[in-house]
């Protein structure tokens, strides 16, 4: 399975209209367009989406609509699954909270790049993190 960008809840909220900075929104749009155009795919873990949905409920339908209209696997909303990795991440990094745990486990499952607006949140965790 190929690498991909994994957007955590902070990145998703930053990319939303009226909640993010204009610059973050422009970046967010370009990452999604890149995925639709055949670049690195983008994953938004379901728990991160749920948190973003509390900020702006319409995002859930918009993202679902995007998933349903873009090329297969270009943009995905991975679910949370009980795995050994999930147990380990919960045990080792209890400060993360569920959105962070799901973002990390999703990124690690495909040795992917976690995109966030707060890289310090993942300090000390062995994964590749990119600042949005």
């Amino acid at each position: 399975m190929s690498r991909r960008y994994v957007l955590d809840d902070l990145a998703v909220v930053a990319g939303l209209g009226e909640y993010g900075t204009e610059h973050h929104r422009r970046e967010f749009a370009r990452l999604l367009v890149g995925a639709v155009d055949g670049g690195l795919s983008v994953a938004c873990p379901a728990v991160c989406l749920a948190v973003a949905g509390q900020v702006r409920p319409a995002i859930v339908a918009h993202l679902a609509h995007l998933v349903a209209t873009c090329p297969a696997d270009a943009i995905t909303l991975p679910g949370l699954t009980r795995t050994g990795m999930l147990d380990a991440i919960r045990d080792m990094y209890p400060h993360l909270g569920w959105p962070g745990v799901h973002a990390v486990t999703t990124a690690l499952s495909r040795t992917s790049l976690l995109v966030t607006t707060d890289t310090a949140r993942y300090d000390g965790i062995p994964l590749d993190v990119i600042d949005l």
Binding site: R30, V33, G34, H65
Partner: protein, 156 residues
């Protein structure tokens, strides 16, 4: 990242759409942002279409969904240039980290290497660096190679 998506999120999209466009290659135009915060319906596409029409309409729908997500953004060439550069650097950072993984056979990149790449990436995001360093991929791969070499020298 290619600048093809430069207009998305800016309230207006006009692009050649080479991968998903119509047989005539006509430009795609999306202008409707009036109801950007309205829920899309599940079966909103409707109607019968040819396969080519379905591809075209799906791509347009995907672009419209992205615009709906980010909301209307005013046309601003300078802001677009900053965002283009920032995302090009993000892709270059991803490529550099991917190169490190291939070189080491391990994930993630060693912390010192990742930090060096991230510092350089942060500097490259400044559009003022575009003229002197127009290719962030090349810059960051070079930085990654040097940082990995230094890491190995230290670890040896």
């Amino acid at each position: 990242m290619a600048p093809s998506g430069a207009g998305v999120g800016g309230g207006h999209v006009e692009r050649a759409n080479p991968g998903h466009g119509t047989a005539t290659g006509q430009a795609l135009k999306i202008n409707n942002l009036a109801a950007w915060d309205v829920y899309p319906s599940v079966g909103s596409e409707g109607g019968s279409r040819s396969t080519l029409d379905v591809m075209t309409t799906d791509y347009e729908a995907a672009m419209a969904a992205i615009q709906a997500l980010v909301g209307p953004l005013p046309p601003d060439p300078e802001a677009d240039a900053r965002a283009d550069r920032a995302v090009a650097v993000i892709h270059a950072q991803a490529a550099a980290l991917g190169w490190v993984h291939q070189a080491t056979g391990a994930y993630p990149a060693p912390p010192s290497v990742a930090q060096t790449i991230a510092r350089t990436a942060a500097r490259l995001r400044d559009v003022g660096t575009v003229a002197a360093e127009p290719d962030p991929d090349r810059v960051l791969i070079g930085v990654a190679a040097e940082a990995l070499s230094a890491y190995r020298a230290t670890a040896a």
